[in-house]
């Protein structure tokens, strides 16, 4: 082992691959968090209504969370498969596509396909967190608003959303962090391919460290990644708090 000073960090500046991985990571994280958040907010609001079988629905909603990532990767590999995959079959039957698409082998579809898997995996946790927040809102606030003549939308806007603010900060920042560092599903399904189009920063670190045996450079990228993440989470937290 020898001391190389800032050499690894200079190398970082000119790395085209890192730039690509950074863009992919940002896309993957932002789109994933946004999709997950919307889906889960809707789901939590629905599950908070007084419906029959509410308890059963809530329990079923949690199931994907406990499926191990490697298992999730295997199942979705099967569903996405081009020649005998279920997804392609149904999309063809419904007339959305004319011929099977290689979802994970196509530079344009691979990132959205991975985002869909992470949506599937992360929705339960988001939903349950928002649901817990909803349940902590005292009922009398709604009663009072109803007496004052507030409609459904007004009640949502002026009672529900402000009360959920602290939950939103936590789940958005934790969700952001977990997704930013999401490794196993992406690595198992695409290994960063095709043509680098699904490499995230974490998979790139793995590649440099264990594939090209440049542990020093890998660590430098990891430090850079944490720096970016801190900036993003700080901005996010401030926006939500405001």
């Amino acid at each position: 082992m020898e001391f190389v000073g800032l050499y690894n960090y200079f190398k970082l500046v000119n790395d085209q691959y890192l730039y690509k991985a950074l863009i992919n990571t940002i896309l993957f994280t932002l789109a994933g968090v946004a999709a997950c958040f919307t889906f889960s907010l809707a789901a939590a609001l629905l599950l908070n209504e007084k419906l029959k079988f509410r308890g059963v629905f809530r329990a079923l909603f949690l199931l994907p969370w406990i499926v191990p990532s490697v298992v999730a990767a295997a199942i979705w590999m099967c569903l996405y498969s081009s020649s005998y995959g279920v997804l392609n079959y149904y999309l063809q039957q419904l007339g959305f596509i004319s011929s099977p698409i290689e979802w994970l082998g196509n530079t344009e579809t691979v990132l959205p396909a991975l985002i869909l898997i992470s949506l599937w995996k992360f929705v339960p946790w988001y939903t349950v967190s928002i649901l817990a927040g909803l349940q902590s809102i005292p009922e009398y606030l709604y009663e009072a608003a109803k007496i004052d003549g507030a409609g459904r939308i007004a009640r949502f806007r002026y009672i529900t959303l402000p009360s959920l603010k602290s939950i939103f900060v936590i789940i958005l920042s934790l969700g952001f962090i977990w997704r930013w560092n999401h490794f196993d599903i992406v690595w198992l399904l695409t290994g960063g391919g095709p043509a680098f189009s699904s490499h995230l920063i974490v998979t790139y670190i793995y590649l440099t460290t264990f594939g090209m045996f440049e542990a020093g450079y890998g660590a430098a990228i990891a430090v850079f990644s944490v720096g970016c993440l801190l900036v993003f989470v700080a901005v996010l937290a401030r926006e939500v708090i405001r």
Binding site: F61, L63, I167, I171, N181, V202, Y206
Partner: protein
Amino acid sequence: MTDIYKVFSYAAIIIMLIFLLFPMAYMFSTSFKTDKDAIKLPPELIPSHPTLENYYWLFTQRLFLRYYANTLIVTLSSTLFSVILSCLAGYGISRIRFRGRNFFSLYLFISQMLPSILILIPLFYILRLFNLVNTYIGLICAYITFSLPFCSWMLKGYFDTIPPDLEESAMVDGCGRVGAFYRIVLPLSAPGLASVTIWSFLLAWQEYLFAMAIMMDEEMKTLTAGMSTLVYVEYMSWGKLMAYCTAFTVPVFILFIFIQRYLVAGLTLGAVKR
């Protein structure tokens, strides 16, 4: 609530559930299909020729049973240790005033941001230094390193909700701090403990990256790391792959049925603080 609104709510929930549950149902049904049926279109959700041959194959693989045992050993012991340690850490941060307490509790949260790969590199060198690569203790230590911060943070939040007066009166009655902790705080925080247990269990059960890097010997691999050697490489068969996945997931499902209530509490613990 009007009827139309109600119908709409049910419809929306059911569509969401189909999206969330279909992949699992597909896994389960494919595990009972022959190789020919597994790739047949249109796909059958209920296999027309159900067979147990995938499971028979799986359970006669010596390596599979070995992986299963390894996973159980590593998961159970790392869960046990991280629960005990995070109890002590969480209690300390919650109750005892010391210099840098706030910073430490913030640090626990920030440590969540480090990509596990960043930890993997130095950890790997450290484990190699102590000759712990390829051992249970090595992997157990690794799992404790990253479940401990979050568990302590969650438990700290839980202990914060228990009024200190309770312990103080126990201490007035002659309990020491440890006695008060053991007799008063721990029983009161049972739901918090349950959720931390589940959290660290799930974390270790499904971890892939560290298992792959630290357990290099085939005999020492866990279920996650072993999947590729056993199923992907040797026999590319969807039925066998899905049987592996089902056998891997079922224990967690069974656990889930018992602890579902706590799981909800656990996932949101720390997030909902009043």
